[in-house]
Amino acid sequence: MSPFKTRLLKVMPLMLMATLAWHFGMTMLYLTPLNPVKARLMPFLRSYIEPYFWQKWDLFAPNPTMDNRFALISRRISDGRGGTEDTPWYDVTTPVWELKYKYRFTPADRLERAFKAPSYLALGTPDLVLEKMKQHPDAFKDLLSTMGQYEMERKKRGMRLFARLASAHCDQFYGAGLTSEVRVQYLIVKPPPFSKRAEPDDAGEATVIEFPWQPYEQVAAL
């Protein structure tokens, strides 16, 4: 082996360890709660970590999700006399859960996430940093304005996803293309608190969020 290769082999462990130290140093800083160093380096951190090393480890943390979300859909069809007819609400979430209980290996797992995805977009998830910024609107005027636009766009996309989810279900139940408008209602049920764990599931606090009618969209079959 040449002297250069011999020297390179001696130095390589140091180079590789330095690479690891750099990479995981950046990763750890990215994962820390917001602090002065992270705030200062955030644009650089994001350019390094995202998208290929993006990560978030709040797995059931700080608290597990404490509500059950049921998607109910309704459709509007022509009644043949120039008017329209609205069908009753239909629960599309419970059948998916029942499938998961019956068969552990089932596509219901990802389908259930697909059914919940519109609610994450339309309703959003708590953002502690954003809440803190809203308490000081003058200090973060521009950033809040940008975030506001982002939130509106996100909600619009959530609504569109709702419409496509409902359209796909209507096609499955009633036949393809027979629906003119669709509507989604979200029933959010909190389980009874631990002190009342003997009570049934529906004894917890329930919230209903009804979304407006939206045009039917043709989506690939469920």
Partner: protein, 332 residues
Amino acid sequence: MTTNTVSRWQRLTDFSSREHFLIGASVFRVLAGLAILYQYLINYGQRNFLFGPSGIFPYEHFLEAVSERGFSLYSLSSSPFVFELIFHAGIVVAALWVAGWRTRWLTPLNYIFWVSLHTRFDLLWDGGDNVMQLVFVYAMFADVGAYFSFDAERSRRAREQDGFTRRVRAMFHNTAILAIAIQICLVYGIAGLTKVQGETWQNGTSLYYALRGGEFRLPGVSEFLYHNSFLLTALAYSTVAFQISFPFFLFLNRNTRRIALAMGIMFHLGIFTVMGLITFATFLMAVDLTLVTDDEYRALWRMAARATDAGRRGLRRLTARLRGVRSAEEVM
């Protein structure tokens, strides 16, 4: 530099010039590869709804998101034919990776196909997929085809050489394994520290809320667990204790590393069976199993072989005894 430092550095260079955790890396490939194949096949009937050009997530929104999220082969064309081609090619690549064919090329290729699928509708995935996406990058620098693979013989012959290339590959392999170890420590450590801040983890009721939720329930089992205050509290506190202690246990010494990995496997088996998070648990178990040493795998194999032999001998003795009893009855 002192002579001591020079000789220590030489020992480190020699140590890192030999591949370690080869069996673990191959176990990772097989287990994680099977989980990836499972993701493709279990959703095969719903592939168009979930990932197709007319799928639930609008194609035009997906194209906008691709520029932020990296890349996706599914952005090449909105043609249904191209979608089917890419989807099925992904299945073939995943299967070949599990089989261990040309893993040096198939590891990055499998990554490209799998991440492409994930980017198509990124709201579908969970923390296990996040771990896998990161570990996949590190695995590209490791020899994941040394065992249980079509590559095994080629890999063995390559390791028998003692040239510059082999040593460099060994160093990259070992660094990749170390990266995987550090990454999984971050996962557990950060998750544990975040949990500690949560009221339900502090008061031990967290698993009640997790298991009461419809999506993670196993009827009969979940109810038994969340009606048992002792078990509930013990599981909640041991989850946090396991996650926070994992990074320290992993690197402290051989015995604590074994304890950490054994707890990790049991933890994820519980998640697999009770909560039904199939691929989440499988990906995390695959990563944990990467960190078992080659000697430990061989020792486990010998134990299993001895137990199987003992079991076979016991069964033969029992059969012989039963035959002997029947013969005595016939004589009488």
